[in-house]
Structure formats: C-alpha cells, structure tokens
C-alpha cells in the first residue's frame, strides 16, 4: 500500500471491484480496500444475476454458476401462479466465488487490493474537499491520499455519509431481508425456475423468493418493508413460510441484510467522492436486485473519474457527468418500477391474488406487455386509477 493514489475504492463487492478495475484499465493508480478478511464472505444475497448484462464485466464461468434459470413463477397466496419468461437468461451464482473473481480481475489489472482494511474516516482539505481516507489495515492506522474516493461500501455505506451525501432512506423505501440456504426441499423445487411469492400477509410490502442452487438446494428468502417490520421480524415471516412449504428441509446457511429501494440517490457525487452500487442506492426499486446495476454504475463512475483525472479537473462539476449518465439510462425506468412497488403495496391480498389469477388464464407467451396490461385492466378496471402514477412515467404503455 502506497501513501497516495489517484483513486481509492472503499468496499470490494461487485461494484467496488468493477470500479477499481475500470479505473486501473484507464491508467490510474488504484487502491481497493475491503474490511472483511475474505472477499465475498459472508454472502448477503440471493445470488441472481442476468447473464448478458454481466458478460462485459467477467467471462461467464461454470465455476461460479449454481443454476441456470429459464423462467420465473409468480405465486399468489392460493398457490396459483403465472409463468413469466425472463427478459434475459438468469444465473444463480455462488457469490463467494463470483465476488472473489471480480476482485482478482481488479488485482490483475494493477489495482492494489487489501483485505481486513477498514475506512474509518475521510481526510478533507481546508475547503472541505475529500482528499483521502483514514483507514485501519491489519490493526495499523494509516492515512492514504487520493484525488477521488469511490464509496462502494454497500447499503451500510458510511463513506458516502461522511462525505455529506444524503443516504438515509425513508423506512418505506428500505427492504429488510432474511434468507436460508436450504437443502431437502422434498421434490418441490424446479431447478430451472425462480419462484416469487406475493401477499402482504406472508411478506408485508415485500415478497418471498425461492431461487434454486442445484438439484435439491435453494436460497429461500424474504424481503419486507422496513416501515411494516415492527409487527413481526423478517425471520419470523420466513419461518412461517418455510414451516408451511418445507417442513423437512435443513438449513445450511443464513443471510440477513438491508437494501435501499429509493432509486439512485439524487446526488451520488460530492467534493472528491463518488458513490456507486448499494452505497448510491442503485438497486432496482422493485425487486432490490443490485449486483448488475451496481456494476454498471461503477463502470459509469470509473469512466468519468478516468477522464477527469486525465484532463486534470476532477471538480464536482466535472464528476457530476456520472449522475447525468445514470439518470439518462435508468431514471425513467426506475421511477416506473418504484411506482409499481408503491401500487402493489396499496393492494389488498385479495386483489393481488385476483390479478395473479387473471394473468394465469392469459396466453401471455404470445402477448406483448401492453396486451397483457390491457387484458388486466379490462378485468380490473379500478386498477387503471391505481396505476395512474405508474402510467404517468410514460414507460409501460408505449
């Protein structure tokens, strides 16, 4: 570890490793620090990623693939379900290996990667601009300078907060998650289908998933809205589901975590700091999937950082180009997903069940999204009113 770098990236999750690697490939000197002793562990994820959208960042390799998904099944409380084709092939990965490989690629691109090294604070100059990181590495304190600090420290990001970014989400825009890695699902598992289970009585303001990880093994997890998490915990809701559906399964691992679902922060950049991935709330505001989006955000931030440092002007005004790129690509789509989540939150369980039932009777494989929605609105005309905010985003009926 040197005393000064062009860029310090805090956090070696997928976003941090991609940001660090792209900066190094752009010719910058880069330090990537990770507070855990081992990259990728413990896993805090259901491990579903899109194959095509991942390919630019890492060669698709069977050594980190646990399952290949061909379709999604959305279930209502009555057990009826709709089968939806994925928009692209989905993979269930082993994130321990996946995250490790991404960090390995960064190291091979010339990034200095150090684990068991935690950012403890930021160094600022007299004007308040961030010019480095105070860190503790293997028990020793260091001050390391940088032109730009990239906060890739996940949903618990303190770096973004120390830099003054407004990262605390409203409780209504925060998912609390809990998951079991289960084996012995009693032949109920379809190894190529990801299941989603809807219904506020089993997962208030959230959903339950069953993502296969092999023949008889799956990530079975839940997210619930933090605003409605005070009646029972996420674990209690998941236990009820598992007792009902998989009473004889064994639990090989447990995961807990939180995910902001606000849609990306209004400001992801401030003097000397750029936030990426969960630290910038880049996860999907409906499903909370954040691996792919974080890698894309990281790449966008790195491109701007490389250009800024090369031209000698890394002022906030210049770094803001990253926010413009993100908003241009995702803002409209993410506001639609955000509105869709709010709409589902307002629906009763009976309504959700009726909708799943209606769609389950349609030949959706032969229909466009617009045709499906028109058919749904014909059966449930009141939904047109509930869907106003969603339709106003201009995305779904085009």
């Amino acid at each position: 570890m040197k005393s000064s770098y062009d860029v310090i990236v805090v956090g070696a999750g997928p976003s941090g490793s991609v940001a660090a690697r792209r900066c190094a490939e752009g010719g910058l000197s880069v330090l990537l620090i990770e507070k855990r002793q081992e990259i990728g562990a413990p896993v805090r994820c259901a491990e579903a990623i899109g194959q095509d959208i991942t390919r630019p960042y890492i060669d698709i390799n069977p050594k980190w693939i646990d399952a290949r998904i061909e379709s999604y099944a959305v279930h209502n409380l009555e057990g009826e379900h709709v089968i939806l084709p994925p928009t692209e092939p989905t993979l269930i990965v082993n994130r321990k290996v996946f995250d490790w490989e991404l960090a390995n690629l960064a190291a091979r691109a010339g990034v200095d990667v150090v684990t068991r090294t935690q950012a403890e604070g930021l160094i600022k100059d007299d004007s308040g601009r961030v010019i480095g990181v105070r860190l503790i590495s293997l028990g020793k304190r260091h001050e390391v300078l940088a032109k730009i600090v990239i906060a890739a420290d996940g949903s618990e990001s303190q770096v973004a907060r120390w830099a003054g970014l407004k990262t605390v989400p409203p409780m209504s825009d925060y998912y609390v998650g809990f998951q079991y890695l289960m084996v012995g699902l009693g032949g109920k598992l379809k190894p190529t289908i990801c299941e989603y289970h809807l219904g506020h009585s089993q997962a208030p303001h959230g959903y339950i998933w069953v993502f296969p990880k092999g023949e008889d093994c799956a990530n079975v997890g839940i997210v619930i809205g933090a605003d409605v998490a005070d009646k029972a915990t996420a674990q209690e809701y998941l236990d009820r589901f598992c007792d009902k559906h998989y009473p004889h399964a064994s639990i090989l691992g447990v995961v807990a975590g939180g995910i902001p679902i606000t849609g990306a922060l209004k400001h992801m950049v401030t003097d000397g700091v750029m936030a990426v991935g969960d630290a910038a709330h880049q996860a999907d505001p409906l499903t909370a999937g954040g691996i792919n989006l974080g890698m894309i955000g990281a790449e966008m931030a790195a491109e701007v950082a490389v250009k800024a440092i090369r031209t000698g002007d890394w002022s906030t005004r210049v770094l803001r180009e990253y926010e413009h790129h993100w908003n241009h690509r995702f803002k409209r789509q993410h506001s639609a997903l955000y509105q869709l989540r709010k709409m589902i939150n307002r629906m009763s369980d009976d309504k959700i069940s009726a909708l799943v039932h209606t769609v389950s009777t349609l030949p959706i494989a032969e229909m466009s999204l617009g045709e499906v929605l028109i058919a749904v609105f014909r059966h449930h005309p009141l939904m047109l009113i509930q869907a106003q905010a969603l339709i106003a985003t201009g995305l779904i009926l085009k």
Binding site: K35, R36, R44, Q118, G154, S155, E156, S157, Q158, R161, T167, V168, P169, M171, Y174, V176, G177, F178, A226, A229, D230, T233, A234, Q235, V254, V255, A256, G257, G258, P260
Partner: protein, 79 residues
C-alpha cells in the same frame, strides 16, 4: 441528573450479540449515524443516538431492544 431520576421512557439501544448477524441493515437507517459495524462488531454511540427506534423496529431478527438505563451507560446517554 442521576440515573434513578431519569424519565420512565429513558432507555438505550442494546445489541444482543447472540442474535445479531452483523448484517448492517440497521446501519443504513440510523439518521445520526449512531450505529455501525466495527471489525464485525455492532456498536451504538449512546451519546448521539436519538432513540428514534428505527433500528429496533426493522432488525430482521430482533437483535436490538430497548434496555433500561444502567449506571454504566447512563452517563453516556443524551436525554
């Protein structure tokens, strides 16, 4: 103010280390940044904690609770 004179609602946020997964979910929702992971231990800064109870309400496993003030922490807690 002595601890026995403190108002009834006085409490501090207590972490049950046997239940906590150190997942960090509570860290993100704390408005004054009073709860954080340090070397995979969860710490609460009782001085800055405003006792808003956000973290207690959302912990996925009930690892946080309102504990009555003890003499050891009462001098730290802001009322």
């Amino acid at each position: 103010m002595k601890s026995e004179q403190r108002p009834q609602h006085a409490f501090f946020v207590d972490v049950d280390r046997n239940l906590c997964y150190y997942c960090g979910a509570c860290v993100a929702v704390c408005p004054p940044d009073s709860i954080f992971l340090e070397n995979s231990h969860l710490k609460v800064d009782h001085q800055t904690c405003t006792r808003c109870e956000r973290c207690i309400a959302m912990c996925p496993v009930h690892a946080l609770s309102k504990a009555p003030l003890t003499p050891e922490v009462s001098h730290e807690v802001k009322l």
